[in-house]
Every structure is written in C-alpha cells, then in structure tokens.
C-alpha cells in the first residue's frame, strides 16, 4: 500500500452554517436504518401504520359518499361522525406502532456510540452536546411525526375539502393545532425516553429492555397504588393514561364522560408528561459527555 499518492491539498470551500448540522446526524442515521438489515421490518411497520390511516381515510370517503352506504342499507345516522373524537382516535390508534418504531430505531442510537467510544468523535467536531442529542432525537421524532401528525392532518384536510366544508372547519379549526401538539409531545417524550435508556447502557438491546421495563413497571406501580389506596388518583402516574387525558383536553373533549371519569385534569397530565420528558433530558445531559470523568 503506498504511503500516499498525492500531496495534501487544503479544502478551500466555506463551511455551511452551524444551525442545521444536527440534521446531518439525523439524515445519516435514517439513511443507515433504511439501507441496513432492518430495512424490511421498518418498511413493514410504516406500511402497517399507513394501513391504519388508510382505513380512516376510507371512512372519510365513504361518509362523504353516503349513497355507497345506502346501497348496502347501512344506517348512516348510527355510524360515528367525523369529529374531534375521530381524529384523536386516529392518533391513539398509532400508539403501538409508535412504541415498536421507537424501540427498533432508537435502542442503539447512543448505546452504539458509547460501545464504540464514538461520542468524542462527534463532539470533537464543531457540535455541542445539545446539537448531538437533537440530531439523535430527530431520528425518532421525524418518523413518529410522519406516522401521527402528517397523515392525520392529511385526513383532516381531505375531509374538509371532500365533504366537511365551511361548517366543519369553523367548528373544528382548533383540531390541526391539537393534532400537531399531541404528536409533538408523543415524539418528544418517546424520543427522550428511548435516548435516555440508550445513553445508560452500551448495548441497544438492553436499552430496549429498559424502556419496556419502565413502561410496564410504571403502569404496574400505578395499578398497585390505586389498589392499595382504593383510589383512581394514582392513574396520573401512568403516562399511557396521561397521554389519553391530554388528548381529550387538547381535542376539546372535556365534556365527554371519559374525561369526567379521570380524577385529574388535562393540564395536570401535560405537567406529568413534561416533567417526565425533562427528567429524561436531565439524565441525558449527565450521561452524554465528550470525556468520561473519573472521580
């Protein structure tokens, strides 16, 4: 092998501005994921997510073309309408897909870097820890938003243009904001939780087990506490219930019986979710450093 075939030529170009360098990390990881061994599984998950949205879209189409239902003598008035509950259900229906996607895509995001000792490689470049974490978060947040907010908004717009009309948009003008807000909160929380678990270990599989353990564990804890104190107040510990309660609040469904049955408000649920996300970020900040300081 030759020592070198040519002399060293300095690069004379101008570097791109710093603000979007975190996107390089996101793009690189996404391209690796979608060209690597797990590509088929990811595509399968995304297709299944798409199928759920397709069902909702088909329902919107059928409701806009009621003569189809009448042909089959299906009583239209007994079918659920297309309202805030419909769009909340569309997002909630993606919960399992979001969880699987998070586990598959996120488990090794920081754990692999820790295993390969590659964090100093990133941070020796003009990147801050925040930008590094933002880049990793983007790997999870973008696909999560891609299977929650984007298709739900699309269905909303298609219904508005297809059959809902002016009356629909005047009644439900808040819904697009609610769809985006809930989806962003889901993406932020899932991303932060997965990255936190990934930063604690050096094997992605263990990070996945940690997340599943935390998910099951905190729900069990909520159930046990509810049982011991014979109260439903401890439901607030369960993030699953918190997200549902938050959804009801954001989608303006405070009046429905389900919302009334929760012993805590939507605002309190948002507080718990934000606190849990902040805790994950605090741990992440502590874990991700360019050097491991031995005390």
């Amino acid at each position: 092998m030759p020592v070198y075939d040519q002399h060293y030529h300095p690069w004379a170009g101008k570097p791109r501005p710093r603000w979007h360098r975190w996107l390089v990390i996101t793009r690189y990881h996404l391209s690796l994921l979608f060209t690597g061994k797990g590509r088929n599984i990811l595509i399968l998950i995304l297709v299944s997510a798409g199928f759920i949205h397709f069902c909702f879209l088909a329902y919107v189409y059928v409701m806009a073309n009621r003569q189809i239902l009448e042909q089959y003598a299906i009583p239209v008035e007994r079918l659920p309408g297309i309202n805030a509950r419909f769009f909340l259900t569309e997002i909630i229906a993606q919960t399992l897909t979001v969880a699987i996607l998070t586990l598959i895509m996120g488990a090794g995001l920081i754990a692999d870097d820790r295993r390969d000792n590659a964090i100093p490689l990133y941070l020796s470049k003009p990147l801050t820890v925040t930008e590094y974490l933002l880049g990793k978060l983007g790997v999870l947040a973008l696909p999560i938003l891609g299977i929650t907010a984007v298709p739900t908004l699309l269905v909303f717009v298609l219904h508005w243009l297809g059959g809902g009309g002016k009356e629909f948009i005047l009644t439900y003008w808040r819904l697009p904001f609610a769809i985006v807000a809930l989806s962003v909160l889901i993406a932020l929380f899932c991303g932060a939780l997965m990255l936190m678990a990934s930063s604690l270990v050096k094997k992605g599989a263990i990070a996945g087990v940690v997340v599943v353990g935390l998910f099951i564990g905190h729900n069990v804890l909520a159930g046990v506490l509810n049982g011991i104190f014979d109260s439903r107040k401890f439901m607030i510990i369960s993030l699953q219930f918190d997200f549902y309660r938050l959804g009801l609040w954001l989608f303006g469904l405070e009046h429905v019986q389900e919302a009334q049955e929760f012993p805590f408000s939507g605002l309190a649920a948002a507080g718990v979710i934000l606190a849990a996300t902040a805790l994950c970020w605090a741990i992440l900040w502590r874990q991700v450093r360019p050097v491991e300081v031995v005390k």
Binding site: Q6, S124, V293, V294
Partner: protein, 310 residues
C-alpha cells in the same frame, strides 16, 4: 516561538476530583509542528481536552488561534482536527462514508465532503480500502483513518494524540512522513502529543515537555540539543585490544565511558582539546576512525530537565 502563537496558556490548572493533573501550566506554541512530550500520565491528553473545550480548567486561561478556551469550544473545534488516542471509530461504516460524515459535521456540503473523503483517504494511504468497513481495519489503518477524519475539513491546527501508537516500524515512519508532509504545506500546524521522543524529534521543530502537569522545558528542538564542547565520541581501531589507549587517556585526565553504537565517549580535561586524543592514539599505535563532538539528543534534554525538576 513566533510572535503570533496559535496556542497560549497561562497558569492552567486542572484536577480529576482530588487528583491534580495540570499544575499552573504556562506556555506558548507557534505555527509549525510542536511536540507535546511527556511520560504517561503527564497530562498531555488532559491538556488537549481542555484546549478542545471538553474539560474546563479549575484555574488559568488560554486561547487557541486567538479564541479563548472555555465557553467558545465550538468555535475552536471548527478550526481544529483532532485525532484521539483511543479507538473511536464507527466500525459498521465504510471508510469513505465515515470520513465524509465527519466532513459534513464540520459543515462541508455533502458532495464536497464525499469528494474530500476520497482525497484524504488516498492521501493517508487508504485509497484501496475506501469501501471496506472500518471494523475490519488493522490498528495501523485505524490510525490512518483517524488522521483522515481529522484532516477532512482542512483544519488550521491538528491535535494528534499518540498518532504512532500501535504502529509497526514502517507504519510509524509512514505516519511521521505524513505529518511532516501536512506541516510542509504551511496551511496546518500540528500539535503532536506523544511519549515517544524519537517520533517527536523526527516530526517536530518545537517541543513542550510536560511532567506531572508542569512544563519542564520548551523551545526549538535544535536549540535544546546543545553541543557539548568537552565531550567527544570516538571510534578507533588498534592491532591489540586497545586497553592501553583507554588507560593512557585516563592518565591524561580524560574520563572514558562506553557510548552508543560502539563509540567511546571521552570527556576531555578542562583546558585541553582533541589534540590530546591524537597524541595518545599515536603513542598507543591506535587509528582514530571517527571523532565527533557529542550533541545532546532529545532524550538527554528530557532526562536532564526531569533530573533538574526532581
């Protein structure tokens, strides 16, 4: 040192917990190749990490390329290429993809980063291995790709932390040649951290020697390697065993001791020159084949500096 230092530190102190690592460190480094020399645990890597903004000094201040260390680490790292000592590569990536990725993190547009990755991989001698996964590389190849990722954005300063570690003799020579070549272009300065004196001597013009977190000596290597007028190194040939020659020199007041490469190191008595040697040689029937005034090696400089400190 030049009047325009690329690195300047003053009263820098740092400790890992209660273990002091750097202790009131002050020096300046000018453009060119400078060796950061010291035994293992001297604080060389810690110093580099402080300069990169990875660690915050407990006391003192400093600047890299005129940018103060501490809060503006990102600005410093934009202009620095860092080759870490330890293994830090992503093994599942192909070499060209890894170097291009690092280029993009420096802000190179994708197409330029990829083009530049090919160039620097050829330059460091990995042209044939560009499409191999980094995990399959030998230690020498890993050292080369670490250099390539540090060079990809044409930094103003290269921080090389033990770049010849784990290399065989020919690999070591090639790495040193590469470093000299980078410096020779004049665009990039090199800080070469190592505990191997010969490597620093071969690649650098300046040196900062550190021991226990303190600078023991710094300056131009040529200036530090002073010529000792009173000590000469001699190779000689005689018909017999030549003991008489050594004894005759001792009688003349010379101190004789074996030197490197079968040379005899002779310390001349005060006020006398090399004519003593020739006179004694003629009288003893000895031919002098080699005679040279002794010049301190970097090792001698280092050892005497450490002795002085102790």
């Amino acid at each position: 040192m030049t009047s325009d230092p690329i690195i300047q530190v003053s009263g820098l102190s740092f400790a890992y917990g209660k273990t002091p690592v750097l202790n009131d460190l002050s020096f300046q480094i000018g453009r060119g190749a400078t060796g950061l020399l010291g035994p293992n645990g001297a604080g060389k890597t810690t110093l580099l990490k402080i300069l990169l903004g990875f660690l915050r000094p407990a006391r003192g201040s400093g600047a890299v390329l005129g940018i103060p260390i501490g809060r503006r680490g990102v600005h410093i790292r934009q202009r620095i290429g860092y080759m870490p000592e330890h293994d830090c590569l992503i093994p599942s990536l192909k070499a060209v993809r890894l170097v291009a990725y690092c280029g993009e993190l420096y802000g190179l547009p994708w197409a330029e980063a990829m083009q530049r990755a090919h160039e620097v991989l050829f330059y460091v001698g990995l042209g044939e291995a560009r499409y191999r996964e980094v995990g399959t590389f030998s230690t020498g190849m890993k050292q080369r790709i670490k250099l390539a990722q540090a060079l990809v954005a044409s930094p103003d300063v290269l921080f090389l932390d033990e770049p010849t570690n784990g290399l065989d003799p020919s690999g070591r020579q090639e790495m040193l040649q590469l470093i000299k070549d980078v410096v020779a272009q004049g665009e990039t300065s090199v800080i070469f951290s190592s505990h191997i004196l010969h490597d620093v001597e071969a690649a650098c013009t300046d040196v900062v020697m550190i021991k226990k977190g303190r600078v023991v000596v710094s300056g131009k290597i040529e200036d530090l390697k002073r010529v000792e007028e009173a000590v000469v190194e001699v190779r000689w040939k005689s018909a017999g065993d030549g003991d008489g020659f050594v004894q005759a020199l001792a009688r003349e007041g010379c101190r004789c001791e074996p030197g490197r490469n079968d040379l005899l190191r002779v310390t001349l008595p005060p006020g006398k020159g090399t004519e003593v040697l020739f006179r004694v040689a003629r009288a003893s029937g000895v031919q002098i084949r080699h005679l040279m005034r002794k010049r301190d090696s970097l090792e001698d400089v280092f050892l005497s500096a450490i002795e002085e400190q102790n």
